[in-house]
């Protein structure tokens, strides 16, 4: 039975809302304080993960873009056959 919930009146109905967010659903000061020991470490972790994802993409695209396809002979465009009159018997 959590008591950290404050109700908001929306269209006559009550929605439960954590008291750690204000009425505009923005984090309150107490939430920022609770997150504060982990802000820097989380930021570094996020940057590291983003960097890892970007580097994987970069490496893959560069590796793939180096492929040479000169040895694959592209066949000539097919010669168009004269339009055969459909045997439409008049």
């Amino acid at each position: 039975m959590s008591r950290s919930e404050v109700v908001t009146m929306v269209l006559g109905r009550r929605l439960p809302q954590s008291s750690y967010y204000d009425k505009d659903f923005r984090p309150s000061a107490s939430l920022y304080r609770a997150r504060q020991p982990y802000l820097v470490k989380n930021a570094f972790t996020g940057i590291a993960m983003l960097g890892f994802a970007i580097s994987v993409y970069t490496f893959t695209i560069r590796a793939v873009s180096q492929d040479e396809f000169e040895d694959v002979k592209v066949p000539d465009a097919p010669v168009e056959a004269p339009p055969t009159s459909s045997a439409v018997a008049q």
Binding site: M1, S2, R3, S4, S18, S19, Y20, S28, A29, S30, L31, R33, A34, Q36, P37
Partner: protein, 506 residues
């Protein structure tokens, strides 16, 4: 020369006061309500340690808006919930600073009168010079002049006040904060911070890094301002300090302040406090044998024994799968609980007249003994002690304090003999260091340090005023440390490291 730092029992009582109820039953909801206390009618031992006496308002039927309005958060009590909103607010938030002598509240005016009768002016002219060559310039006089910035009488005359202004400036801001906090308690506002949450599911971990993470992970109501934070931590510091040391996610580790001997003791206790899951359930198939409860002996209990039981239940909510038995022992363990007098008779079944409050929240039981601990120990009342189940907690015991250390002389060897950890707190660093050196000298080499002294992460954020010396501010449980009797065990030889000195030098 500092006089005794001691928690102002009057302040604490103001914080926990609520409407009086009948005392016939000792259930949880009744014990949460306390009437403003009158001086206890019976004291077995009069402690010589100086503290504020129990000066009370003339009649508590003349309830201030605070006492009628701010009934403490009892979630299950509808009548209390209806009473919670006060009919009028005595003081607005921007109107909280008042001189103590001219305060709108009669209790604070009474405190100011007490200060004028008991507190002495700290100006050096009143004291003999340190070399002992001359007598004091002026005889000691009581304070009467109030500082205009903090509203508390601190000097005997305006001249001494101006003379000593530099040293007063150091604490003037703090005193003003104390002033505003005191008036805030009596302002009759709604106190959402005093609505405590119930138990949590096991999987919801508690974060014991600091107050903010703890309150968030325990799903307290969000406390955005600093003033309510100070008010709520002042009460919660007692159970949470103990919980933060004992919990397996404790912030004190081997890298921090814990010593290897401390880890041994705490691991034994954590084995009981965090038992492995046994598949227990609420039906017949879920019946499992349960271990006995963890016993916490709170010695020298004064104000903490009168804390509302919801506050002590927060300790059991930190440990969802274990049960607790809190035992308050001390000559003043009934201070602030005057509506529970007269004490039970001493019968063969109840030889020391203990008051038992059982079935608190399903996992806690609280017993109170108005007796010295050494008496109970000699009677072997709690024997046998088991380091897996028992621990001692001393909240600001004043072990080394000259006025109270003689009372602990007999108890210390008995505590060391039980080999159970003793967790101590202190008002200030100086207080703690004095306690530690006293233990170190008196133990005769029989004590091991378990946790090095330092600031308690879960100390009270609110500073308290000593009415008998307005220059003396202290906060509850500022620091925490722990010791235990030395255990002699055959162990492998580890060279010079394990020299058995007890860790006091680290």
């Amino acid at each position: 020369m500092a006089t005794v730092p001691s928690i102002c029992s009057k302040c604490l009582r103001q914080a926990i006061r609520s409407t009086p109820k009948s005392t016939t039953h000792r259930s949880f909801t009744a014990s949460a309500s306390k009437s403003p206390s009158t001086p206890p009618t019976r004291r077995i031992h009069h402690s010589t340690r100086q503290r504020t006496p129990a000066i009370e308002p003339q009649n508590h039927s003349n309830a201030t808006p605070y006492t009628s309005g701010a009934v403490r958060g009892r979630q299950t009590d509808q009548a209390a919930a209806a009473q919670r909103q006060p009919s009028r607010v005595l003081l607005q938030p921007n109107n909280l600073f008042h001189s103590y002598t001219h305060s709108p509240s009669p209790e604070i005016r009474q405190r100011a009168a007490f200060m004028r009768q008991n507190a002495y002016c700290p100006h050096p002219d009143h004291h003999a010079s340190p070399e002992g060559g001359e007598a004091a310039v002026a005889p000691p006089r009581h304070v009467s002049h109030e500082c205009p910035d903090c509203g508390i009488p601190v000097s005997c005359s305006p001249d001494h006040f101006v003379d000593d202004y530099a040293s007063h400036l150091e604490i003037c801001d703090l005193l003003r904060q104390i002033n505003e906090d005191d008036h805030d308690l009596l302002s009759g506002r709604f106190f959402p911070e005093f609505e405590y949450p119930g138990p949590q599911i096991d999987e919801a971990q508690v974060n014991l890094t600091n107050w903010d993470t703890l309150l968030y992970s325990r799903e307290f109501n969000a406390v955005n301002e600093e003033r309510p934070m100070r008010q709520v931590t002042r009460l919660l510091t007692y159970p949470i300090t103990v919980g933060s040391v004992l919990h397996e996610l404790s912030p004190y580790s081997l890298n921090d302040r814990l010593l290897p001997e401390g880890l041994r003791s705490l691991s034994a206790l954590r084995h009981t406090l965090h038992p492995p899951r046994s598949g227990a359930g609420v039906d017949i198939k879920g019946l499992r044998p349960n271990p006995p409860p963890m016993r916490l002996f709170i010695l020298g209990a004064r104000a903490e024994s009168s804390l509302p039981r919801e506050v002590w239940l927060q300790l059991s909510h930190l440990f969802p799968r274990s049960s607790f038995h809190l035992i308050f022992i001390g000559p003043e363990s009934m201070s602030g609980r005057d509506h529970e007098y007269p004490l039970p008779e001493r019968t063969p079944i109840n030889p020391f007249g203990q008051i038992v409050e059982d079935r608190l929240g399903g996992q806690m039981k609280i017993s109170t003994y108005v007796e010295y601990y050494h008496t109970l120990h000699e009677a072997q009342h709690f024997h046998p002690f088991d380091p897996y189940f028992d621990a001692f907690v001393l909240f600001h015991p004043g072990l080394g304090h000259p006025a109270s250390s003689h009372e602990w002389k007999e108890t210390l060897p008995q505590l060391l003999e039980t080999k159970c950890p003793v967790i101590c707190t202190g008002y200030t660093e100086f207080d703690m260091e004095r306690d530690i050196s006293w233990v170190r000298e008196s133990c005769g080499g029989e004590a091991d340090l378990l946790m090095r002294p330092g600031e308690n992460r879960f100390r009270s954020l609110r500073w308290d005023l000593n009415d008998a010396d307005p220059g003396d501010v202290s906060c509850g449980n500022w620091g925490v440390w722990a010791f235990r009797g030395k255990r002699y065990e055959a162990d492998e030889y580890r060279g010079k490291e394990g020299d058995g000195s007890g860790g006091w030098d680290r």
